[in-house]
Symmetry: C2
Subunit: 593 residues, 2 copies
C-alpha cells in the first residue's frame, strides 16, 4: 500500500528542528507575529498570536518561547490582520481549458495552498500515459497538489475502458489520494463495473468521491452503502441534509458549472452540524477566475450567506482536510502542520494579502503572480485528435431517410435548461431522402466523433435550444468521452469546425459559411491551452461572442456544448455510438419506429 | 504498508447485498424500526427512524424502501427508545487485572462495541511474543478490538528495550492502528529514541498517541510538533483548551485512575468546538466496572456535567472514530458502516437496553452477559516471573550504611498525593550498620525487583505516606517496568510477599508476620487474572481490606503501589536500577552525599 507524498513528507520531515524551534533553542526561519488567528480546531478567533515556521513546517503557535525568534528570523508583523489556514480545494477539474501550471499562480494569489483535482478528463483521450503526464504536471509545485484517479463513468463504451491494472497504477501514484467521482446512476446500474475499483481504492485506505445528482431515498442509501463518502451535487439545503444524515461529506459547489451556495446556505440557520460541509468549486474557468477570484470568493460568499466566518473558513480548510484524511498535514495552523497560511484583513473579509505555502511567502498584495514549475507535456499528450482516414466533410453529418416518405418522426435532444436535456419527439420533413437542420425552428444537428478508440466514428442527431441561426460550433473538450462534439445549422460548417479542431489538435471552433469566426486552441490532450488565463479568457470571450453572433442566446454556450456528452447531467446525451438515455441506460435511435 | 483488519473488512464486505437491501430487492437480516435516532453526523435527533442491517453492515437508515423488510427479517421495534452508535473506547489498558476475554462481555453490556487498547504493559514483561499473544487474545471477538503498539517510555533501561524490528512487527499486526502513549518528558529528553518509532508509525499512516501530563507552553508545542495527536492527561478546562488549540484530540479521562470530567466539563460552557474532545476511561478496574458501568456511565456523566446529549454521545463515538481515522467503518449509524448500535431509553438517559455489534444482537436487558472467544495464553505468557537463583529473603531488602556512623541523611519517596511522589530528605538512625523502616513515622521500605532482563536485580529505598504499620504489600503489575514492586514495614514480610508472587507467577500479595493475608493471582504475564470480574473484585476487596487492616489509609493502595514505578506520574520513582528523578531524568542514590 503506497503512501501519498503528503504522508511521506509528514513521516520524514525534520522533527528535531521543529522541537528545537518551539523550545527556543534555534531560531525560526519565519515568524508571523501579532496576528489575529482563526483556530479551526477550537473554533476560536484568538488575538495577539504568533506562528513560528521552520523548514516549511509550523513549529509553534500562540506565545513563542524566547529564542524562537532570532536575528535571522524573517518576521511578518500581522498587526491588524487575521491569519487563517491556506484554503484547500476539495473538488475541481484542472485538466480543463488551462494547464495546471498556469492555473496554480492564480490559486495561490487567492489564498489556496492545496488542490485536489480530478483526472477523469485525461484518461479517455490520452490513456494511462496521459493521466501520468497530467499528474507529472502537478508535481514539484510550490503548493500541495493532489489528485483522484478517474472513475470513468461514461455513456461511451470507449470512455469506460480503463483496466483495473491502469487504475492500480494511478491509485499508486504518490499524488493520488482517492478515486474520483463515480456517477451514481452508473454505479447502481452496473455495480460490478465499479465495485472492483472501489475495493482497490479502499484497500489503499483512500477515499471514494461521489456524484449523486438528483438521487434520494433508497437509491441514495444504496449509493452511500458502497462506501462513497462525498457528494458535490446537492442543490438545496434539503439535498445537503439528506446526504449529511447518511454520513456523507457535502461539498457545496460554487464555481463555473453551477453555484449552489445561495440555496444550500439555508442550512446555516438550521441547528445542523456543518462539520461535514465543504466548499468546493468543481472548476472555475479563466473568465470567472480573473473576474471573481477563487476559493476566497466562495468563502466570502458563504459568510455573506449566513455562515459564521469560522465555519466558512473551516469548510474550505479543516473540513476538506479531514474528509481526505490529510488533516495531520494541512487544514489548520498548529505545530507539526505544513506551514500553509494566508493573511486577510479580518475574519469576515476574505481578501488575501499574503500567502505562505510550505513556509515560503509565495505572494503578497501588490506583487506579481508567483512563478511555478512549467511542465512539458509529452508529444503524445499533444497529439490526441485522431479522426481516421475518411475525410471530414459535410456528407458525414447527413441524416438519410427513406426517399419514399415525406416526413419522419425523430427523437431529439431538447435543452430544457442550459445543461439539462430531455428527449422530445418531432415530425420532420424528408427532402430528397435527407432530414435536415431547421434553424428557423431552432432544430440543429448535433454530432459526436470519436477521436481515439474508433477514430472518426460518428453519430449524428438533432438538438433544440442551442439557438444557432447559421454556422456551427465544435469542441474536442467534450465531457466524459473521447469525442469531438459539434452543433450546427449546416453540415458544411460542422465539417469545417471539426477540420479546424483536427489542425489545432484540440480546441473550440466557431465557423460560419466555411470560415473560422473564433477559436481557442487546446493542444494539450485537446482539453487544455498552456497559456496565461488572460489570453484564454480573451479567446473564450471571442468564441462566446461568435456563437452569440450566430444567434445563440445561451449564457455559456461553451459549457452547454461540452456537457452534451456527459453521463453526469440528465437526460438524453450523445456520444460516437449514438443518442443515450441516462434514465434507462440505453442507446436510442434518431428515428422513432 | 499493511491495512488494519477493519479497513480490509470495509474494502471486502459484500456491497451488492447492501445495495440490494437498501433498494428493497432483498430483505434485511435485521431491522430496527420506530426508533428515535441520534445522528452523530448531522448532530440531529431524528424521530421515527428505521435502520436495516445486512451481513453485519448497515444497508439503509431513515425511511426504508418497500421490500427491505421481508418475512425473514428480524424486527426490533424501538418505539419509545433511542438508537445511538455503539460506544468506542479510545484509550484503555486491557492488559490490566483481568484478561480481555473476561472484560469484553461487560463492555458489550454497557454499550461499547469498539475498544482501542494499549499494549505497553505486555512488552517489558513478556517481550514481542507476549505482545502478540495479547493481540491474539483480542482477535475473533464479537466486537471490534483494536490496539496501539507499545511506545515504551520507562524509567528502566530494561523496560525500554523494544527494537525497531519488534515495533515494526507489532505495527504491522492487523489489529494495530497506532503507536501508544509516548510520555512527553521522555520524548523531549531523548527525541532520538522516539522519533524513529514515530516515523515508522506515520509511514504506516497510523496515529501517534500522546501523554502530556503537566506540559504547557513551549514544551507542549514542541511535543505537538512531533506529530503526536492526542492527550488524555488534561486535568482542567484550561489544559484541554490549550491542547485543542494545538490541533490535538483531547481525551477526557474518566476511569479508575483519574476522573477529569468534572473539571474539564467547564469547557462545555465556552464557545469552543468539541469536535476533537473524546471521552475515554484509561482503564476501568473490575470494582468500578461492576459498580458504575463503563462508557455508558461516562457519557451519562458528561451529559450531567453540561454537555448536550448529542455532543456527549459523539465524544464517545464519532469523535473517537475520526481521531483514529476509522470513521468509514465505525462511530455512526449510516449506510455502509458496520452495524454497531445501542438502544437507550432517551438521548439523555444512557442506560443500554439492547446492544448490537456487527449486526448481531449481543445483549439485551435481562439477559446474561454475551459469550466471547476465550483465549489460551501461551506457556511463556504464563511464566514471566523470573527472579534468578539467589534466594528472595529478608537480607535482600537490607539497606546497609557505614557501621561507624549513628545516623545518615537519606532521600525518600514522599507520597504527596496517592499517586504523586516528591523527593524528601530525612535523617535516619544507623543501627548495627543498617538503616531500617520506621513504621511509627510511616517510613517504610520500597523495593523494585526485575523479573525479566536481570532476574532478581533489586533496588531498595524508603517511602513515606503508604501507612503500613506492619507487614508488606507487593505486586508484579508495576507500571512501565519489568519489576515486582513491594512496600513493607519489615524486610521479612517483603520477602514473603515476593516469594508468594513467584509461586503464583504474578499477582498482588499482602503478608504479615510471614503469613499471606490476602492475594490476587495474576498468572497471565504477572498482569492479568483470567477470571470473571466478580471473582477479581472479591480478591481486590480482600487485598485492599488487608492493606487497610495493616494501617494504610490510601483509598486505592493497589493503584498507589503499581504506579510507584511509572514514568507517567511525577516526580521520584523507583525501578530495579534505583530511585529515578523524572524532572532531571537521572537516577538518585538513597544516601545523600
Amino acid at each position: 500500500m503506497p503512501l501519498s507524498f503528503l504522508n511521506r513528507m509528514l513521516a520524514e520531515r525534520d522533527i528535531p528542528s521543529l522541537m528545537e524551534t518551539a523550545l527556543g533553542h534555534i531560531p525560526a526561519d519565519l515568524a508571523i507575529v501579532n496576528a489575529q488567528l482563526v483556530n479551526v480546531y477550537s473554533g476560536e478567533i484568538l488575538s495577539d498570536t504568533a506562528v513560528a515556521v521552520k523548514n516549511g513546517w509550523i513549529a509553534a503557535t500562540g506565545h513563542l518561547a524566547p529564542g524562537t525568534i532570532g536575528p535571522e528570523t524573517r518576521i511578518i508583523d500581522a498587526t491588524g490582520q487575521t491569519l487563517i489556514p491556506g484554503f484547500i480545494e476539495g473538488h475541481t477539474h484542472l485538466a480543463t481549458l488551462m494547464t495546471p501550471d498556469y492555473f496554480i499562480p492564480h490559486a495561490v494569489r487567492h489564498g489556496t495552498t492545496t488542490i485536489i483535482t480530478e483526472t477523469m478528463e485525461t484518461y479517455p483521450v490520452a490513456g494511462l500515459e496521459g493521466v501520468m503526464d497530467f499528474l507529472a504536471s502537478i508535481r514539484h509545485q510550490p503548493i500541495t497538489m493532489l489528485a483522484t484517479a478517474p472513475a470513468l463513468a461514461s455513456i461511451s463504451p470507449a470512455g469506460s475502458r480503463m483496466s483495473l491494472d491502469d487504475l492500480r497504477t494511478v491509485l499508486d501514484h504518490e499524488a493520488v489520494i482517492g478515486l474520483g467521482e463515480s456517477y451514481w446512476q452508473a454505479v447502481l446500474k452496473e455495480p460490478s463495473l465499479y465495485l472492483d475499483r472501489f475495493r482497490e481504492t479502499l484497500l489503499r485506505d483512500q477515499v471514494l468521491e461521489g456524484h449523486s445528482a438528483g438521487a434520494g431515498g433508497a437509491k441514495l442509501m444504496a449509493y452511500a452503502a458502497t462506501g462513497v463518502s462525498s457528494c458535490h451535487e446537492a442543490i438545496s439545503a434539503k439535498d445537503a441534509l439528506e446526504r449529511l444524515r447518511l454520513g456523507m461529506a457535502v461539498m457545496i459547489r460554487e464555481g463555473s458549472i453551477r453555484r449552489e451556495l445561495a440555496a444550500i446556505s439555508a442550512i446555516a440557520e438550521q441547528s445542523v452540524s456543518c462539520r461535514r460541509l465543504l466548499l468546493v468549486t468543481d472548476g472555475v474557468n479563466p473568465l470567472h477566475l480573473l473576474q471573481d477570484g477563487y476559493l476566497d470568493a466562495v468563502v466570502q460568499k458563504a459568510i455573506d450567506f449566513g455562515f459564521s466566518p469560522v465555519d466558512a473558513i473551516r469548510m474550505a480548510t479543516l473540513h476538506v482536510a479531514e474528509h481526505f484524511q490529510i488533516d495531520a498535514v494541512v487544514g489548520g495552523i498548529a505545530p507539526g502542520r505544513q506551514a500553509d497560511m494566508v493573511l486577510i484583513p479580518a475574519p469576515d473579509c476574505i481578501r488575501p494579502t499574503c500567502v505562505i505555502a510550505r513556509g515560503k511567502l509565495l505572494w503578497e498584495e501588490g506583487r506579481d503572480l508567483p512563478q511555478v514549475q512549467r511542465h512539458s507535456f509529452s508529444e503524445s499528450s499533444r497529439s490526441t485528435i485522431r479522426l481516421g482516414d475518411a475525410p471530414i466533410d459535410a456528407g458525414r453529418f447527413r441524416i438519410g431517410a427513406s426517399a419514399a416518405v415525406s416526413q419522419v418522426d425523430v427523437r431529439i435532444m431538447d435543452l430544457i435548461t442550459e445543461l439539462v436535456t430531455k428527449e422530445a419527439h418531432l415530425t420532420m420533413p424528408v427532402v430528397e431522402g435527407l432530414v435536415c437542420s431547421d434553424p428557423t425552428q431552432d432544430i440543429l444537428k448535433v454530432a459526436a466523433i470519436d477521436r481515439r478508440y474508433s477514430p472518426g466514428k460518428t453519430a449524428v442527431g438533432f438538438i433544440r435550444g442551442f439557438g444557432l441561426r447559421s454556422g456551427a460550433f465544435a469542441t474536442s473538450a467534450a465531457w466524459d468521452t473521447t469525442d469531438i462534439v459539434v452543433v450546427g445549422a449546416t453540415d458544411a460548417d460542422m465539417a469545417a469546425c471539426v477540420q479546424r479542431i483536427q489542425q489545432l489538435q484540440g480546441g473550440f471552433v466557431v465557423c460560419n459559411e466555411g470560415k473560422v469566426l473564433a477559436e481557442l486552441a487546446l493542444p494539450v490532450m485537446g482539453l487544455m491551452a498552456q497559456e496565461p488565463a488572460e489570453i484564454i479568457r480573451e479567446k473564450m470571450e471571442a468564441v462566446t461572442a461568435a456563437v452569440h453572433a450566430l444567434g445563440s442566446k445561451l449564457s455559456d454556450p461553451m459549457l452547454t456544448l461540452t456537457t452534451l456528452t456527459t453521463a453526469a447531467i440528465p437526460y438524453l446525451r450523445i456520444c460516437e455510438e449514438g443518442l443515450f438515455d441516462l434514465k434507462s441506460g440505453q442507446f436510442r435511435e434518431v428515428f422513432l419506429s
